[in-house]
Amino acid sequence: MARNYAVTGSRSVASPTQTLLGITGATSCRTQLNDLIVGSSATPADNALRFTVQRYTAAGTSTTVTPQALDSADPASTTTAGVNHTVEPTYTTGAVVLDIAMNQRATQRWVATPGREIKVPATAANGLGVQPIHPSFTGTVNATVHFEE
């Protein structure tokens, strides 16, 4: 039976972009992103932020976080997650699956239509990265990801 997990992360925006949060699948499961919340906890201001979700084939270097099971009786997830990347994942050119433009003041949520979740291939090191994009804003941005595997 499918199991659901949550990952949260935060970081300062940088240029060039540094990944906020990544989830990396495994050969033994099909990870599916089904919920994404992005916002900013910085002092309110009118910055035009963009968040993209893009596929990658290598996870880069990041701080490992443990995905939290939405059902506390579930075992640990097979999918791994990382935040605050110091070495960017190897993104696949053109493989942008979400592009969210927003005002810094207005948190945005994306929820997959049932059956149209964003799936990660069952290939080692493949995954999805959430990237905050702004050329000069350096405040903190936050993301929550829910996925199924």
Binding site: P16, T17, R50, T52, E88, T93, G94, P135
Partner: protein
Amino acid sequence: MLFCGICKQPLGPNETLRDIRLTVEDMEGQAFPIDKKPGLYAAGPQMFNLYAPIVAARLGKRVEEMGPNDYV
């Protein structure tokens, strides 16, 4: 006011930012960015136009064949 993520210069009226992912090889020999870090930049028109042919050449395409997502 918006600034180019590559050269840090302010954008002019009606100018917009476009995303472009650069490698170190793309940036060799160019004056900007001064600190040549690979990654995804929000670029103003001048820097985008400077780097677009370089990125297209790396991908084996012509600029006319590139879509917006091909640059990221």
